[in-house]
């Protein structure tokens, strides 16, 4: 069951690579948040109410509701154009993300470790690299933030793959998520929206030598 969910998550990456409208990216984030909750719930060894509540807070409340809602309101409030404005054509993006997944599969098949679940590892790596690819291939500041959130999802899966016996590390990862995303999203993107109309990375190119 977890395998199916993980593969669904990898497919959402492919969908992301050809998405045109900003709202689609937000829907993908929402979808990934729900998937992450299901995956975490299924990998739990024993169900403790406190633990489940914590995971729900992180995945459902935070990743699937709060962040997408916040991004959506940012887009509306700052009148950001609804198009993603990629540097590369969608077809090429699709091929690159497919290649990323294929390379992750090849990479992790070279790892002969029994400690880590292969499917988790493949999906985690491809999510990570797709997030990085999203950051470098899109023009808007808000797509950079979305790319960062996708990297966070990748790290979340990775910590699940590694840390089912190490709750400390998983909690730490959750703290990273909340801390950094709230910081990035909440404080500064809001300010950028106030100062710049239609925030675009081209407007942040003045600091140089």
């Amino acid at each position: 069951m977890t395998d199916i969910l993980l593969i669904a998550l990898a497919m959402s990456l492919l969908y992301m690579s050809i998405a045109n409208r900003m709202i689609t990216y937000i829907h993908i984030l929402l979808f990934q948040g729900i998937l992450l909750f299901a995956i975490t719930y299924l990998t739990l060894d024993k169900v403790e109410p406190l633990n489940v509540a914590f995971i729900m807070l992180e995945t459902i409340v935070f990743k699937a509701i709060a962040v997408p809602w916040f991004l959506n309101s940012l887009i509306k409030r700052n009148n950001i154009t609804r198009e993603a404005e990629p540097f590369l054509p969608n077809f090429l993006s699709l091929i690159i993300v497919t290649l990323i997944i294929v390379i992750s599969i090849i990479l992790s098949s070279s790892v002969s470790s029994k400690l880590i679940d292969k499917t988790f590892f493949i999906v985690a790596l491809s999510t990570l690299f797709s997030g990085l690819y999203l950051i470098v291939s899109r023009r808007k500041i808000i797509t950079h933030v979305i790319g960062y959130l996708i990297i966070e999802n990748g790290v979340f899966i990775l910590s699940l793959a590694v840390g089912n016996e190490m709750p400390m590390l998983v909690n730490l990862g959750i703290m990273l998520d909340i801390f950094a995303s709230v910081l990035i999203l909440g404080i500064f993107f809001n300010k950028i929206g106030d100062v710049l109309k239609d925030p675009d990375v081209d407007l942040l190119r003045n600091l140089k030598d």
Binding site: V111, S113, L115, I116, L128, I141, H144, Y148, I151, E152, V155, L158, S159, V162, G163, E165, M166, M168, L169, L172, G173, M175, L176, F179, A180, L183, I184, I187, F188, K191, I192, V195, L196, L204, N206, L207, D209
Partner: protein, 477 residues
Amino acid sequence: MISVFLILSSLIGIGLFFNKNKSLMYSLLVLYVIQLWVFGISQYLQIHTEASFTYFKPDHIGILLLLALAIVAIPSLFHGYRYMEKHNEGETPRTKGLFFSALIFLMTASAAAYLSNHLAVTWIFVEATTLSASMLIYHHRNIRALEGVWKYVFICAISITFVFIGILFLSLSFKSAGITDLTFDSLYANYAKADLFWLRLSFIFIFIGFTAKLGLVPMYTAGIDAKDKAPAPAGALFASILMNVGFISIYRTYALINKTPLQHWAKTVILIAAVLSIFVAAVYMMRIKNIKRMFAYSGIEHMGIVMIGIAAGGIGVYAALLHIVLHTLVKPVMFFQYNQIYWVYQSKSIYDIGNYFKYNKTGAIVVLLGFLSVTAIPPSGMFVSEFLIFQSLIAQKLYLILILMFILLTIIIYGFGSNVFKLLFTPPIDFNEERVPVIKPWESLSQYILLGLAIWMAYCPPSILIELINGSLKLIA
């Protein structure tokens, strides 16, 4: 003890944030410095105790950098005070409180990161330094400051994610041997049981992640913008104690790798990053027109030199540790002095400044001495440490790197020197002398003390410095 320090510092920080009263604000700052010193000395006295530590441990390298922080804290807060009170009319009690409270949080988080005995704890405090640093960078609240802070936060967030992935792989590497205790003590004791494949992956991620703080290729870029846009007293801290946070984290991880067969591979990785950093610094030094950024790039160069010393091993490690202490003392001098330069010319572009000797003699001598110190020309203290690093390179037969270093350092001295001498001697064009404020000589006193301290520490090192450096060496030897 550390919990008392953290709680007291947080209380002082929060007090500064809410406080509107001027005299109370400065008494709180004095209180902070006193408790920082008390904490530093008490940690030093605990260094030989054999108690078992979990998350924090007063070891030699941590105390070394903590005491360096305690020294730099005094002039930083003093120049912060001058910056707020004398030369910036636009500051309100609220912005002052925010600035000083962020400064206190930055210093406290760095101090905690120095003493942490667990990679995850280091990681938490490094994240805390990012947060407080971003408050300082955004102090002026204009579009350029926003750009600087956005880049800094974004790159630091990505780097910190990399470090987290590194920690995950590290835990995997020790999991096969059944070791779940990830304190450095336990890692050093059980290095032989580590799974090398995951350890290798882990080191590369942790190294890349911490280069954002250390200021090395590949993640150095954000730090440059941060030092440029933050007020100079904060920039001085970014260029010294914040870089040390990155250094100590990499040093501790490297100390683990150094015990395993991955040693040579890790040295190669560090050497590549370090030489590339010096190369980047040299390229920018040649064409740079903004003197504050020039000081920031000089920091990249020095961190490159330090990491080459660490990778070379032997006497190089001793020299690298000496170099990082001296750099901590000398680099803030340039940033403190930069403020006075800005007050004279109201610009940081090399085209608008010049003939500084005429407008501020004491300050001009500081710039000259600071230039000699930073470029390691005798009697600079850094001459000693760089010389020892060259020696260690010869001892290790790394001639190619030595030659590359010589060429790049010459380029850096040329670029740095041509800008500094233009600042000192060439008369500026279209400059209205009537607006030049009077800058009292005593405002440069702290710079002279720091420069003198750096020379004294290099040529006749006090026994406490030697003891701390030798103790730190034991991690790697």
